[in-house]
């Protein structure tokens, strides 16, 4: 009996292993638009985290990009050629990303790669992009050192989102000019580089703008009791609080701060973006402002058109920032191919570098030739009594 069982187990294991193998690298032409592989298509790689621990980002961005590709093809493609997407799944694994990027560049011969969504994934293909002269573009990799590493520009690396530190800078300006803040306190999540980057940038810009930062306090992720540190901050005089971090803790911080009688505006970055924030903070979510790439409540006609089209395609779901960024990234790549002298990696890269006034749903931007970062506006989202009360572009 025992022996049969072990054979069964072994059999089952090897079957799963086989299934795992066959599931790996089958390319799928997603939004091919029915174009045959020939001279009338231009191939673009779509390399995203479709499974694994950051799959929710990767899938969202990939879906946004696919939707954009369909729209472009329906409108006749670029320079008369349809876009043919070659899609692979990085499984949220950087080694896999490098392998697949090499495959896209050398075997599939794509003119550009869109993705992955994370900075770690992008960094895994920087070297390959330079070797093979294929531009790589991410819609959401926000690490400051991605496009410029140790003071040297990575020539083939682009992104359509602003960098982490920019959010801190924008919020510092917003607090000073729109919230009339002279004194700020900072409470940051020290377990995340993202929050630290935002806090440093805010600190620098706020002081440069003539304000003072009265205190800087810290917390760690997964903490639930912030009363002690908030009571300490309450002893200070300040006009605004800058609290970069993620929504799980922020909801509690906002709630506990308001319960302790702290009435100053609470501000932060895109880590606030989640329906959970309102759930955790409840009615305490008032006078809260954060920077984001995009807002689904924006009334800009370009944004509303995108949201309507998205809802039609994806079962009435509301697009998130990642969808919008993926969508813009595809449009940006198509736009660059259109402006390029020829559909080769080097020419497309040159066209990307020269981008001026590209207009997408997450804003209008130029590409800064020195850093390859887009120069764009952030969206400020403000809450009053648990509801969104402010949506405006600011830079």
């Amino acid at each position: 009996m025992k022996r049969t069982l072990s054979w069964l187990v072994a059999g089952a294991l090897s079957l799963t292993a086989l299934a795992g193998c066959s599931g790996t690298t089958a390319p799928s032409s997603a939004a091919g638009g029915g174009a045959a592989a020939g001279g009338d298509t231009v191939k673009v790689g779509l390399l995203f985290e479709l499974t694994g621990n950051v799959a929710s980002y990767g899938t969202a961005e990939a879906n946004g990009a696919k939707m954009a590709a369909e729209e472009i093809n329906a409108a006749g493609g670029v320079n008369g050629k349809k876009i043919q997407l070659v899609e692979y799944d990085t499984k949220s694994d950087t080694a896999e990303t490098t392998t697949l990027a090499a495959k896209l560049m050398t075997q599939d011969k794509v003119v550009a790669i869109i993705g992955p969504a994370t900075s770690g994934g992008m960094k895994a293909q920087i070297q390959l992009s330079a070797q093979n002269k294929v531009p790589i573009v991410s819609g959401s990799a926000t690490a400051d050192d991605l496009t410029v590493t140790n003071g040297k520009l990575n020539e083939y690396v682009f992104r359509t989102c602003f960098v982490d530190s920019y959010q801190g800078t924008v919020m510092a300006k917003y607090a000073a000019s729109k919230l009339n803040a002279k004194t700020a306190v900072i409470l940051k999540d020290t377990s995340s580089d993202y929050a630290k980057g935002l806090a440093d940038a805010f600190d620098k810009q706020f002081k440069a703008g003539g304000g003072t930062v009265a205190a800087t306090e810290a917390y760690t992720a997964k903490q639930t009791d912030f009363n002690a540190v908030l009571t300490k901050l309450k002893g200070q005089q300040f006009d605004v609080m800058y609290v970069p971090g993620y929504y799980e803790e922020l909801g509690l911080i906002i709630k506990q701060a308001r319960a302790l009688g702290i009435t100053a505006p609470i501000t932060g970055g895109d880590g606030y973006e989640s329906p959970k924030l309102a759930e955790l903070a409840g009615s305490a979510l008032t006078d809260v402002y954060y920077t984001n790439h995009y807002s689904a409540t924006d009334t800009d006609p370009k944004v509303t058109a995108f949201i309507d089209a998205f809802k039609k395609k994806y079962n009435n779901a509301t697009p998130e920032a990642f969808h919008a960024l993926g969508y813009d990234t595809m449009k940006f790549v198509a736009d660059s191919i259109k402006r390029a002298k020829s559909a080769t990696g080097a020419d497309v890269k040159a066209a990307m570098t020269e981008t001026k006034g590209f207009s997408g749903v997450t804003g209008t931007f130029d590409v800064d030739p020195a850093t390859h970062n887009p120069i764009k506006q952030a969206t400020i989202i403000g809450y009053k009594d648990g509801k969104i009360s402010v949506t405006e572009k600011f830079s």
């Binding site: 306090e217 639930t224 912030f226 002690a228 540190v229 009571t231 300490k232 709630k255």
Partner: protein
């Protein structure tokens, strides 16, 4: 001065939670010399039962509190009967490892069923959200309720342990299980009853935390569980008044450390206290040094 008073209130609310959990640790240790590491997770289950009862069954806060206590009571007895009783005569390390196993089992079974995302308690009746300002100090009704309920439960516990027959049996078993058996006490039932009491208190703490912080997740029991353990050791493990003092001491210390030094140091200080206590007064604040009989 206002700030100090405010910090003390913050500390007492937090300390009440630690004290409630620490009581369960200390009672179980007192009776079978087992550090029940699954105790923090019973507290987590209590928080989820309270959540389900309020959000799904639509019961009130105090009904939910009672339901969570009863559920945890049953859970505690089941854990004891299934996981610990068969190992009653094994080495202590075997039981300890089983306890860690039960703890991980509860965490990840819960993670499987409810998911890793945090959940928030449904909105509470208005009197929970009331606040009083005394000078510059803000006292929320929630803090008062959390402290009040904890103190009431502790008084109830003290009554059960000191004034009832089963309490007397518990004390007898904790002194000498064999002698108690010879006196006709049903030792197994007494041990189960101890688990039931301790787990009920942990369940109550879970619901109170859900109300107070409005956030629960399947791994929420780990840190408070460890800190309550420190509280129990600090007060003298096995001693009920020790757990009370330890719980409030740890809560207030933690708050004062993050209020006056840095919030990043609070956990470090708590565990440094554990180490110091173990070095200088291993029996805890109220414990007597008893020489081990050979």
């Amino acid at each position: 001065m206002d700030q100090l008073a405010q910090q003390l209130i913050n500390g007492l609310s937090l300390g009440s939670i630690y004290a409630l959990i620490a009581l369960g640790y200390t009672m179980v240790y007192g009776i079978i010399q087992l550090i029940n590491f699954a105790h923090g997770d019973v507290y987590m289950v209590g928080a989820y039962v309270g959540f389900a009862s309020m959000a799904i069954l639509g019961l009130g806060v105090f009904e939910s509190l009672a339901l969570a206590m009863v559920t945890c009571m049953i859970l505690g007895v089941v854990i004891e009967r299934v996981a610990y009783k068969p190992l009653r005569n094994s080495t202590r390390i075997a039981v300890l490892i089983t306890a860690i196993g039960v703890s991980l089992l509860l965490e990840y079974v819960m993670l499987y069923f409810v998911g890793a995302a945090v959940r928030s308690y449904p909105p509470l009746p208005d009197y929970f959200n009331a606040q009083f300002a005394v000078g510059g100090v803000v006292i929320s009704a929630k803090s008062l309720i959390i402290i009040g309920v904890s103190v009431a439960l502790m008084i109830g516990l003290q009554f059960i342990v000191q004034k009832t027959r089963i309490g007397k049996a518990m004390r007898a078993v904790s002194q000498d299980a064999d002698a108690a058996r010879l006196m006709g006490i049903n030792v197994d039932n007494t041990i189960s009853f101890t688990f039931a009491l301790g787990s009920a208190l942990a369940g109550a703490a879970g619901v109170l935390v859900g109300i107070y912080y409005n956030t629960i997740n399947p791994l929420m029991g780990i840190m408070p569980g460890l800190k309550a353990f420190v509280a129990a050791v600090f007060g003298g493990i096995g001693l009920i008044p020790g757990a009370l003092i330890g719980g409030y001491f740890i809560g207030v210390t933690e708050t004062l450390v993050s209020g006056y030094f840095s919030s990043l140091l609070q956990d470090a200080v708590v565990f440094a206290i554990l180490i110091l206590v173990l070095i200088f007064k291993p029996a805890g604040l109220l414990g007597k040094n008893v020489r081990e009989k050979v």
